[in-house]
């Protein structure tokens, strides 16, 4: 039903240009906001405007691609961090990456909440990609005994996202600090805390049986 005759592969230069455009758009959005002139993006990507509009007929398509790429990267960072660090440290670092994503969305947030139907699928994509990633990190930390086991991945994603909402008086650093605080609150005082900032002296309570 869905598998029509695949016409041909996409050409290599086309793929290169799409990647270059997304990368350029990410930088420009971050610097000049989502409403930055298209030319700024095409110049940075080193392509003509025609190329931009062929691959992204609507501006929202480009915005969506940038956001999805950002989400993908953070999701992919999960397994990588889990491989490189212990469960507790991996979790901390991943949350940092996540708040970073929420922070760079700065300019994008307004676009996302604009009610434009083009973005309707994004929240779903967000949860679908990040939920399992965080769930795996949490589970590892819980198994190791470093973390309480009564918080779900999606709840945590939501909570951190809320904390990172820009507050008029505060800078963007505020959300990250609050998020760290929240995650620290999840740690078991008797578990292996993150290096260098272990909380209160351990209370004897049958340290992690792993």
């Amino acid at each position: 039903m869905t598998d029509g005759p695949v016409p041909r592969r996409r050409r290599a230069d086309a793929r290169r240009n799409v990647d270059a455009l997304i990368e350029a758009a990410r930088k420009v959005f971050d610097t000049s906001g989502v409403d930055a002139p298209a030319k700024e993006i095409t110049d940075l990507a080193g392509v003509g405007v025609g190329t931009l509009y062929r691959h992204f007929p609507q501006r929202s398509d480009l915005v969506k691609a940038v956001v999805e790429t950002g989400i993908d990267e953070v999701a992919d960072a999960g397994p990588a961090l889990a491989g490189a660090y212990g469960p507790g440290e991996a979790l901390t670092r991943w949350i940092d990456r996540y708040t970073e994503l929420l922070g760079t969305k700065r300019g994008l947030a307004s676009a996302l909440h604009s009610g434009d139907p083009a973005f309707a699928g994004l929240p779903g994509y967000f949860m679908q990609r990040l939920g399992p990633t965080l769930a795996a990190l949490l589970e590892a930390a819980v198994t190791e005994g470093a973390l309480r086991d009564d918080v779900g991945a999606e709840d945590l994603l939501h909570a951190v996202a809320q904390l990172c909402q820009p507050v008029p008086g505060r800078g963007p650093e505020h959300g990250r600090r609050m998020a760290r605080l929240l995650v620290d609150g999840l740690r078991r005082v008797d578990g292996p805390g993150p290096p260098g900032r272990r909380p209160e002296p351990p209370i004897a309570r049958g340290a992690g049986s792993s």
Copy 2:
């Protein structure tokens, strides 16, 4: 210091046009979003573009005026409702008006959260205008014994605003329902509830000694 020589009063036609522009902008924003072409607004208001730009040099000025007008209307509705209905009913109706305001902000919300310094003063204006209004309504209902007395006006404003935050899957009706629920939760089971929906039979608990 602040009172220089007041040059003259604003001309009547100017005031008329400003009002017409705000009214038109409100409709257009609601229909086509905040990014609607300026001409759409000026046409609806029946003025030239020059007039728009004279009174609202920046687009954010117009947005701000629309929001403030909305806030003012809801604030002014407080005393009016208090005069026309009993305390409990007045409160319910006012909260409905308030959720309506939060709902129409739909298109505006993205602009408000954009971090544009032009909107920095709005949250303050919001609280300053609506806080006392709701406080008066609450106090009347508490005095009458219809309401618990342990919730502050600003907290309630915040809470309802949170509940009305658009959630991806839900429609705009969702927030209003949640808000009604919240307010119903404030009612004293032994007090005179709103007509036609008195809650559970009173639980003997030493009916308010106040």
